[in-house]
Assembly symmetry: C2
Homo-oligomer: 373 residues x 2
């Protein structure tokens, strides 16, 4: 009840803040709840007599696994599970082998095993494809293998110890999954979806502002604040963030009408194309900031067609973004294609001197590429 | 001895591979050595009687702390140390407070503490500036605080337990630092330095290849492979990697002739400017791939001045890159400045129709910006 009311208070406060802050607060509260739940293993006497000191492992699991996005928690949890089982199994085998030999040989065999498996798994962690998805699993493998193989030397009931520990780790994992997926889940897939669709809007606005600044004359120019290319740059540098979101999104169950086979790969491809467009838009910066500017008369002569092209580009981008956002087939494809074609025609009429022509042409072909998606 | 000879064998094998692979192998071997060293706590009887089960914490510390770059290991280690001490101290205080109250209130106080501190620290982890440098420390704080505060309920000698654990963690940290910093250290600072200087070369080559492709005529064009903008794109997307390298580099002791106050911030600024240049170069892609091309005669007329500009741009970039690589004041600044100015003059002579003009101008100003560094 206490927690519930706290959530209410905070979501009420949150109405004045932006959505992102609210999500951060919700996440923090969720972690708090998960920690309290897992601490009950210590706090409740009947449970503690069952679990004992191993309850420590459940706490550790919760602290380490609980991530902002549900997909990240899931992927870390499964990695941890597989790493623990593999490492534990191999560790038991190695410990048994060492026991067979006995004496000083025992310690030597264990040392060699530790070295070989540790080095091999560390090398695997550096391979890009493994690093991307299974880095954490490999680390847990090394950890568990080492702990099991060296404890095998000392502890008598190695198998029982392993079983109990695994049991508490599973408890921690269940608590994590429960709080992460069932209480206000924060999906990486939603974030990726929003990030891709908002890029369209960002680019459309950048192109419009750019053209406005270019064609505003003399006195007007001094007064208006200079267009910063920040939104354009944020699109350009979104690659790493998008990739990690897609990585988490793949682990998240059932998203939208595509179900389990959601085309995350396509999102990354669209992102790639949009980054190309952003690079082109960014190159306008050179034209706007350059000390050499073409004369006002030349500008006036190309103003109208350029603005038509610019606004229809922006319109096209917004249309495409909206159709992806609403996850429906783009209704206006039939309109977009001839529009892009006529834009190309118009551009070839405009004198080649206009620097924006090049940009226009590139965006043209990019637009076509996107439209064909 | 065994390990030494192994290193020799591998570095011999490595001569045929590239430098990066060798470094990965060296890192793997270093991790193996550190693991064996820390396992000695278990394997050697006299040590084990001293340390006991707590040796587990030393192993855990090594597995978790050992990172590819020395700076990353150092930063994680210090984070872990501070997190453990803070968490342990606050945990002890909270446990003592709960003990004072006693009875059922005890468990309630502990639960509340766990919730509040867990949620607050998690919120801090989401603040960008803390996330960047102290994410790991905050996580360890949550973990230690929780473990200490709930164990306080059960264990009698909480302070002794904490001291012993801290002791083994310090042992693990020492082993990490020893192997990471003293045996073939891999410095993030060197990587950042190389990454920035190689960008100059990449861009210079991109510009040259671009111009070559643009001015190659008819039949030649069909035969040659299309220029891929990959090196340009890798420069463009290097932001995240550079920032994490700079983050680690700050923790690394004494680099080059600047000593402890090495200007890593400047490296990031240069990277930013170079990414602008890369974006401009990438926008040539539109000109090269566009189905509409200007006529061969027009091209021929602007070929010569453009090539002069292109080659002197490439020369300037290489010169700047080399001076940064060798960490000396750029000798040719006196040459570069008038050259850039005359280039600008030449460009204004060339018909504005040439698409490379825009690029040229931007790079011009960028070049000036860099030269003034």
């Amino acid at each position: 009840k206490f927690v519930d009311s706290l959530v209410h208070v905070i979501s009420f406060l949150g109405e004045n803040k932006n959505r992102n802050d609210v999500r951060k607060i919700i996440h923090s509260i969720k972690v708090g709840i998960a920690l309290v739940l897992v601490s009950l293993l210590y706090l409740l006497d009947p449970v503690y007599t069952q679990v004992g000191e191993n309850a420590m492992w459940a706490i550790m699991t919760v602290v380490v696994l609980f991530e902002f996005f549900a997909g990240a928690t899931l992927s870390k949890g499964l990695n941890r599970g597989i790493g623990t089982i593999l490492g534990g199994g191999l560790g038991c085998l190695a410990a048994a082998l060492a026991q067979e030999i006995g004496g000083v040989g025992n310690a030597i065999v264990i040392g060699t095993c530790v070295f070989i498996f540790g080095a091999a798994a560390t090398y695997c962690r550096l391979v890009p494809s493994i690093k991307k998805g299974y880095d954490y699993g490999a680390m847990i493998f090394i950890l568990t293998f080492n702990l099991v193989v060296v404890s095998g030397l000392r502890a008598e009931k190695i198998v029982q110890l392993a079983r109990e520990r695994l049991c508490t780790i599973v408890m921690g994992f269940v608590v994590c999954i429960f709080t992460s997926l069932l209480v206000f889940p924060i999906w990486a897939s939603d974030d990726l979806h929003d990030s891709v669709t908002s890029k369209f809007e960002d680019l459309a606005r950048s192109i419009e502002t750019c053209l406005e600044e270019y064609f505003s004359i003399g006195s007007e120019k001094e007064n208006r604040p200079k267009f910063s290319f920040n939104s354009c740059k944020s699109v350009l540098y979104s690659k790493a963030k998008d990739e990690s979101l897609a990585n988490f999104a793949r682990w998240e169950p059932w998203h939208g009408k595509f179900g389990f086979s959601y085309p995350w790969e396509k999102y990354l491809q669209i992102g790639e194309v949009l980054r190309d467009v952003a690079a082109t838009t960014l190159s306008f910066k050179g034209c706007l900031r350059s000390p050499r500017q073409s004369s006002d008369t030349l500008r006036a002569s190309i103003k109208e067609p350029c603005e038509v092209v610019g606004s229809s580009l922006a319109w096209t981008l917004r249309e495409l973004g909206e159709s992806i956002m609403k996850m429906r087939r783009c209704q206006t494809v039939a309109l977009i294609m001839p529009k892009l074609k006529s834009m190309r025609q118009e551009l070839s009429v405009v004198v080649l001197a206009s620097p924006s022509t090049i940009g226009g042409q590139v965006q043209n072909s990019d637009g076509l590429e996107i439209a064909s998606f």
